[in-house]
């Protein structure tokens, strides 16, 4: 059973819809700046969504707002209504922040006085991402929220594909969403992996990552159901692979064996070989360890001439949203026949055998791969195909 990508939605610092995002990639716009959505004295630049339409500004539920904006765009793109009660629809979304009970004011009040206003708890209980989106669109199938740190969005897409292939639903809303939040900003800062300047994935002089926020959503459908709606498929979610490093809580396995297993599993799932892949949208965070391990794996699996890039330089690292956003960009690039310059890359790192593309580049092929690596040693990859 083939799985069609029938709709795409994207919200990030690069734009509040997919077209704006792609324009930012095309013209090299990097909309980063200091934190403005909460007080912070930390010096790290971030990629904030500055102009989320008022309709989506649900107070205190920013991640859900970002997700709902992208879901609506994706459903419109798929030619589906925004209320799906008449369909068998599953929802599988990745996040990090929306799953954490981390309201600082609530906790500060509790630890000072032993009591606190429970409104943040109510918001938290209503804000489970997949459950809230499922409720919003009146989906009748399973709703699963994946919290696999930075690979959450990619894993969520892979799980949604399993829903569809096993006939649990005909339509699936999949991807990820995350808001910029003070707790992970401090957390990543404490780990010493945030850059004081704009990130430079795979560059010799890279100094770390920038955090961002956003949502990337795919509408996926069983091919028979999609054709039954009178549509002609163009893009496919062809394969998914996932594997654990079983190595370390925060550092990727230096030999990249976990990522390699995930990529090879995704290729096998698609029934293709590495030579069939025309480009890779790499995880490419801009940290020393990630880019070194990932570059080695991509070179080993796909060879020295593979074309690849990272879009973290346009969006920042959007954590649970990253896999969703990057799947959206990968699908659109495959459709349009070009890939963007890997923002921030200027100098080859001699410790990485291959380099990303440094200018917008035409591509001609039928398959592309998007990779995600995460805290905890999770690795995930998807293959997107074009008819």
């Amino acid at each position: 059973m083939n799985i069609v990508i029938s709709g795409i939605g994207a919200v990030s610092a690069a734009g509040t819809n997919l077209a704006e995002n792609i324009d930012s990639l095309r013209y090299g716009k990097r909309n980063a700046g200091p934190v403005s959505i909460f007080p912070s004295r930390l010096p790290y630049p971030v990629f904030e969504v500055k102009s989320l339409p008022e309709k989506w500004n649900s107070t205190g539920m920013r991640t859900l707002s970002l997700a709902l904006a992208a879901v609506e765009e994706a459903l419109n793109d798929a030619g589906l209504p925004t209320q799906l009660s008449g369909f068998k629809t599953g929802v599988c979304l990745g996040t990090t922040v929306a799953s954490q009970l981390n309201d600082i004011d609530f906790y500060d009040s509790f630890r000072k006085s032993g009591s606190a206003d429970l409104k943040p708890i109510d918001r938290y209980l209503k804000g489970n991402l997949a459950e809230a989106v499922s409720h919003s669109v009146k989906a009748s199938g399973p709703a699963i929220t994946v919290v696999n740190a930075c690979s959450s969005g990619t894993d969520a897409i892979g799980i949604a594909v399993s829903f569809l292939k096993n006939g649990i639903c005909n339509i699936a809303i999949a991807g990820g969403a995350d808001e910029l939040n003070r707790v992970p900003l401090c957390g990543f800062g404490s780990l010493g992996i945030l850059s004081n300047s704009l990130c430079a994935p795979f560059d010799r002089n890279r100094t770390g990552l920038n955090l961002g926020e956003g949502a990337g959503i795919l509408v996926l459908e069983r091919e028979d159901f999609y054709i039954g709606r009178g549509k002609k498929p163009l893009l496919y979610l062809s394969g998914y692979g996932s594997a654990a490093d079983a190595y370390h809580l925060t550092a990727p396995r230096p030999d990249g064996k976990g990522l390699e297993s995930a990529v090879r599993s995704a290729l096998s799932d698609s029934g293709i070989s590495p030579e069939d892949v025309c480009f890779i949208n790499a995880h490419g965070t801009g940290t020393i360890d990630n880019d070194k391990a990932e570059g080695a794996v991509l070179s080993r699996v796909f060879g020295e001439n593979i074309r690849f890039f990272s879009t973290k330089g346009y969006t920042g690292h959007t954590l649970g949203a990253a896999g969703g956003l990057e799947a959206a960009y990968t699908a659109e690039a495959l459709k349009e026949g070009w890939i963007p310059a890997s923002a921030g890359f200027a100098c080859k790192d001699d410790e990485i055998p291959i380099s990303p593309v440094s200018e917008n580049t035409e591509i001609n092929g039928s398959f592309a791969v998007s990779t995600s690596l995460a805290f905890g040693g999770n690795n995930a990859a998807i293959v997107i195909g074009r008819a």
């Binding site: 981390n102 096993n166 404490s190």
Partner: protein, 347 residues
């Protein structure tokens, strides 16, 4: 899929034998050391030098996850030859929030630039699954799910998909949740607490009482029937529809998800019912523990006495621990009084 191993950490100990002992011994008073009566997991249950030397910095949430997952793996007796075919699915409602609050303590006490990186990395939801994968050398798909509705049922559903697709030959699948002072406060403010410390699963109340609990319950699930077999998961439904009449229906009534009158409507159909939440406490992830009880009943062919058989409506209950001929058990959870999930397990 087949249930080939079980591991449990709960208020009365660690391991499937401790759980079976509790099923035989029946109800015990919860502890009353916090804001409300609760079934807490004491630190001595989580002391195991052979495992903790590998996870020195791990928090309570991770220890409950690791010990229950490790024990499920060991209980199965399976030696997985291809570790890329061993998957892990950890499902939770609230995740490691104690460590998140500890990290926020650092932010508030020492400033945003001076919080502990160790606390942060352990506060990430998938840290526990990462420790499990590292300790067991499991290199298959590893995911952590966060759900308020049906966290165990959805994990089980996904495990079945992975096994069916051939992604895995075995999946360690389970649930973990912890209880700290903040969560006790939330429970006290948002739920009706059973001040007498007794969860009453068969009162079928519209506003039931709860006694919060914590712990971890994991299952080694296998594509093929293995030497140690508790039973077969024959179906998972979220629509309330399930074919075949069960010998026993285990309900997850524990006061955590509101209106429980729906269980009463089910009881009126005359089926034999059981409920074991008074042994381990009220948890959104409590279905995993009920599933463990049902699995033990199938394997041992014993119907365990309900620990709190309050039965004002005179329904048919397991009222004594005795040998029984059990072919099928349905594990039922009702959420928000209307959505019913049923897991059908067979001998």
């Amino acid at each position: 899929m087949f249930i080939s191993g079980i591991g449990i950490v709960f208020t009365r100990g660690r391991g499937i034998n401790s759980f079976e002992k509790a099923l035989k011994e029946g109800w015990r008073e919860p502890s009353r050391t916090g804001l409300l009566p609760a079934y807490r997991v004491n630190q001595e249950i989580l002391a195991d030098p052979s495992l903790t030397k590998k996870i020195r910095r791990a928090d309570k949430f991770t220890r409950m996850a690791l010990f229950s997952a490790y024990d499920a793996y060991m209980n199965s007796g399976i030696i997985v030859e291809n570790n890329e075919k061993l998957g892990i699915i950890l499902s939770t409602a609230f995740g490691p929030h104690s460590t998140t609050f500890s990290f926020i303590d650092d932010m508030l006490d020492y400033g945003d630039a001076n919080a502990s990186p160790t606390k942060f990395s352990n506060s990430v939801h998938n840290a526990a699954a990462s420790y499990v994968s590292s300790v067991l050398g499991a290199r298959g798909p590893t995911v952590t799910l966060a759900q308020f509705s049906f966290p165990f049922q959805k994990a089980l559903l996904l495990a079945g998909l992975w096994l069916n697709e051939g992604r895995c030959e075995h999946v360690l699948c389970g649930c973990v949740d912890e209880l700290n002072m903040v969560m006790e406060y939330v429970c006290k403010m948002k739920l009706k607490s059973a001040e007498d410390g007794i969860i009453k699963p068969f009162t079928f109340s519209a506003s039931p009482s709860s006694v919060p609990g914590e712990g971890g319950a994991f299952f080694m699930l296998s594509k093929d029937k293995c030497v140690n077999n508790y039973g077969k998961v024959a179906g998972i439904s979220f629509s309330g529809q399930m074919h075949g009449k069960p010998d026993i229906t285990v309900i997850d009534a524990d006061g955590m998800t509101g209106d429980e009158t729906g269980y009463g409507e089910m009881a009126n159909s005359g089926q034999t019912m059981a409920g074991y939440s008074p042994l381990f406490g009220s948890m959104l992830t409590g279905s995993a523990f009920s599933f463990a009880a049902a699995s033990l009943m199938l394997k041992n062919q014993i119907a365990y006495e309900c620990p709190v058989p309050d039965n004002s409506s005179g329904i048919k209950l397991c009222t004594a621990t005795s040998e029984a001929d059990i072919d099928q058990i349905n594990c039922v959870k009702i959420c928000s009084s209307e959505i019913i999930s049923t897991i059908k397990i067979q001998k």
